[in-house]
Symmetry: C2
Subunit: 208 residues, 2 copies
DNA sequence: ACCTGAACACCGTTCAAGT
DNA sequence: ACCTGAACACCGTTCAAGT
């Protein structure tokens, strides 16, 4: 009746994560969704962390990477950033599962990294600098995406808490256009890193 | 024998988190550290999420904010960023606990936000833009810190996994100076956002 | 008011047993 | 080879009971 395999398990697990959230993402819940005993899963998957990795990879494979057209490398990076943001916003629970189970690299993640680095290499920076820019920009941008989805899941703090912190309050009452903020951030990071790494001297030093 | 109070609980819980890690951060473990029954904690703390908030706040209070000297606003932001990075690197488990239990705002976090926004306001950007810069830069920088500490805890992928992904491999074999990378990132983000928000037209648009 | 022991409803995972 | 039921060692939390 079951005919389990890794692919079916991954799809079911992703569905469970989406529907029941990170807390409801359970070996038992995934087994239930497949109409199978929880222990059946262990025949195809090492442990829960491996199942989490499967889920992350399934989410990454849902949409193909943006086509590398003839646009500028900056636009290419921005397209990749938007692709990433759309992905995690579509599966907020998966980002939590990813962190909880320390799944940082999956097959598809390598492909994303390749593309990211290759775009930075088109910038004309030398190899080492392009790598540095790729690493730091990706940490900043993926970090911003994670923070955004996490905050989107949590509610707004109580007004009483915000009473004495005008900045934090302004931060929440401000009209927000998250997509525009994200574009601003990505382009600022990319331009800012390129500018700093282009001028050969005083790369990270404060005195310009 | 016990004489429990919230402050003692917070200190013990932070110690447990530091010593036993996020997985070992348990109501029972904290109670043990205090020589008390697990249920005693519930008399002073609503639930585990509230205890997690206590831990985050205790970590934040360990060191005072950097003194706001007469430096430039850019240096002030950089000092704050370093303060944050040092903090989370000293307590890597706490960042995980923070995420797991959705603790985003604690009393001390408001103080940090106030300072961050006020520094951006010294940049001369108008109020809305300063707020936008403060929000986006903080998401990027705190996100980068979280990613860095998470990756530091996890090991390097197996060489066999990296075989076919030259960029990812280069990324790991590259000589890294995390502190310098961090300074580069922070200053690039700050300068990049300021540059983009300073020129009134085409704020987030790609065509410069 | 503060603390405790026993218990409940969950987890991930092991293990012997079934086909 | 693949799946199962029962069991183990944990969780967070509730509840009645003690002082």
């Amino acid at each position: 009746m079951a005919e389990l395999d890794v692919e079916r398990i991954a799809a079911a697990a992703l569905a469970v994560a989406d529907e029941r959230g990170a807390a409801g993402f359970t070996m038992r819940a995934v087994a239930d969704a497949l109409g199978v005993s929880p222990m059946a899963l262990y025949h195809h998957v090492e442990d829960k962390a491996a199942l989490a990795a499967l889920v992350v990879d399934a989410a990454l494979n849902e949409h193909e990477l943006p086509a590398p057209s003839s646009q500028s490398w900056q636009d290419g990076l921005y397209d990749m950033a938007v692709w990433t943001r759309d992905l995690w916003r579509a599966h907020p629970a998966v980002t939590r599962i990813r962190n909880e189970h320390h799944v940082y690299w999956t097959p598809s993640m390598y492909a994303v990294a390749e593309r990211w680095v290759s775009l930075w290499q088109q910038s004309g920076l030398d190899f080492e600098d392009a790598l540095t820019a790729a690493v730091t920009s990706s940490m900043a941008i993926s970090g911003a995406v994670e923070t955004e989805t996490a905050l989107a899941e949590s509610g707004v703090p109580a007004a009483s808490d915000l009473k004495w912190t005008p900045s934090a309050r302004a931060l929440y009452t401000r009209e927000r256009d998250p997509a525009a903020d994200f574009e601003l951030l990505v382009r600022s990071v990319v331009d800012g890193l390129f500018a700093r790494l282009s001028q050969p001297a005083s790369r990270a030093s404060g005195d310009t």
